[in-house]
Symmetry: C2
């Protein structure tokens, strides 16, 4: 089943979307918003699945589905906790600045608390007051939306609490990160509003690509129309989503509708991540990573961060080449312009 | 005007509360929940104020108001961004571990992103799997709830976006903080669910105690019934709420219902904060602070953090000695017991 929120008011209007993303049907008779559906998932899911079946069989009134009309599936959420599960990415960051990564990073998940009150829609511009000065970057990630999660849950049980899967562009302001992290309290200004894929998809609809708490498909990232990344999200993910959820719930329960992110998808260098897509490599899911590799190789980065007018696309295709979640497609725009 | 959320479902039932906190009237005809009221504040506020006036004049159907029936005013929120505006507190933390605090901390606000999906009610127990091992502490703070805030707002305009004021117990797990901050991504497990005061109060109802974006009254903190703190929240607050909001909104808008916290209220040592309340001092709004002062004086702390069964009370009285927001009153309980 695929769900989306058509832009309307603060929380959107819930629709069930056809598998091929061409049609949808209004779900407001069952739940007006996705958060409302998640608040009472056990009793509302069967009705939503009936709509999904009716949509495929043609027995349901339909509207055309346009990704450009979508808000993020949760236009605002009660929690956005973003992990850093591809530890390779973290190791590269440290290596680029000549620092050792603590060994514990391979066994103890790293998660930061993100802002969740003002997500961007998947086709909304990324509006910023500065481009070069702030070092605007994308981060292509996978995220899950969970049902209520009890405090202290273990990783195996946590997997059963996953209701929906999405893609994310975790917009990051690279030039603001060092100063902010040096203050010791984590990210704030350096992590502005994120954008999510047009649809959120139940794990069963992902077939065998969803297994062991990971999504085993390439994360396709394009910058200004050119292929930039195709790292496989199921490879080199040190902590699966069960581990990430359990980490987040160690000292408090998580409310239904909590979003947990994977962190930037990144494959190891010896797996081809060091090579651009054009050379058959996995490429990169963020600009920071190619800059780190450039720094390690040449002493300094050469690929610039995003400039006003630059475009970023993030999506994932199934084995048949069809988009699964729809496409995040954003342009960097100047605030007030 | 004072507002509260009586426990009911996930988001509570909105009531308008009398000034003396003895009576309330149902507001669901105007807005079912506080978030719903905040989502459309400009058009709904007049109706809520009519209820408040009717409540005082006796022209309104009333219920008895019981603080123990309250959830936090926002039982869950889309954002909880907590500052550290009493820089004295930060300086003490550093001094206790023999570190210098960067000079920039006096001019650049420090804010962390907190979890906002599962707040505790003001009389709910603080339920934890460990007490001593995790170092459970309270933090008595002031917080404001804002209306929609535009990205890039300045501090003066930000003050006009404050709709409600509350108290907070920002529960902190001191023993988990050093390891978590060392990882570089800020707090997560070390900041479990916070609790807020039974009512949220409009700035005008605070009279002259609310001025220049600060609340000029003592923050009364008791531990196991004994006075522990009475630091004045209007004193030594380096950054007023306008500054904190502007900092939070530098790179993204804030959604109506965003909560901004002051950080632990703390008065400077020469203002009496080094002295216990029993000796006429301002005392402490968290246990960590007295432990820092003990460490500076004696080389090690002697006051223990909270143990299972310990009780914390946080409230604020007006000049007449009446509680303004109602009382946060929580006991530390063992998870699963």
């Amino acid at each position: 089943m695929k769900l989306a929120s058509i832009k309307s008011g603060r929380d959107g209007r819930l629709v069930v979307v056809s598998r091929d993303l061409t049609r949808c049907t209004d779900a407001s008779r069952i739940a007006p918003t996705l958060q409302a559906a998640l608040d009472d998932w056990a009793s509302l899911e069967p009705g939503l699945r009936e709509l999904a079946e009716g949509l495929e069989s043609g027995s349901m009134p339909v509207e055309r589905f346009h990704e450009r009309e979508c808000a993020s599936p949760l236009p605002r959420a009660y929690q956005w906790a973003d992990g850093s599960a591809y530890v390779n990415h973290v190791e590269l960051v440290r290596k680029a600045r000549g620092a050792e990564m603590p060994e514990s990073f391979w066994s103890d998940p790293l998660i930061y608390q993100g802002g969740s009150d003002s997500f961007l829609g998947p086709r909304d511009p990324i509006v910023m007051a500065e481009d070069e000065a702030w070092g605007v970057d994308m981060e292509g990630e996978v995220a899950v939306i969970v049902d209520d999660v009890a405090m202290g849950i273990d990783a195996a049980d946590a997997l059963d609490r996953i209701r929906l899967v999405m893609l994310v562009n975790d917009v990051s302001l690279r030039s603001l990160i060092p100063g902010e992290l040096a203050k010791g309290f984590g990210f704030f200004q350096s992590k502005p509003s994120s954008a999510f894929s047009p649809t959120a998809v139940t794990p069963d609809a992902l077939g065998e690509a969803w297994r062991e708490g990971k999504l085993h498909l390439p994360m396709l990232v394009r910058v200004n129309g050119a292929p930039f990344g195709q790292a496989n999200a199921g490879v080199d993910m040190t902590f699966d989503f069960g581990r990430l959820i359990a980490h987040a719930a160690k000292t408090r329960p998580l409310c239904a509708g909590t979003i947990i992110g994977s962190g930037t998808v990144s494959n190891k260098l010896d797996g081809g991540a060091g090579k651009p897509v054009a050379d058959g490599g996995a490429g990169y899911s963020c600009i920071a990573e190619i800059r780190m590799i450039e720094t390690i190789a040449n002493g300094k980065p050469t690929t610039p961060f995003l400039r006003f007018g630059d475009r970023v696309e993030i999506e994932m295709l199934d084995r048949g080449g069809h988009t699964i979640f729809g496409r995040i497609d954003q342009t960097l725009a100047r605030y007030g312009a």
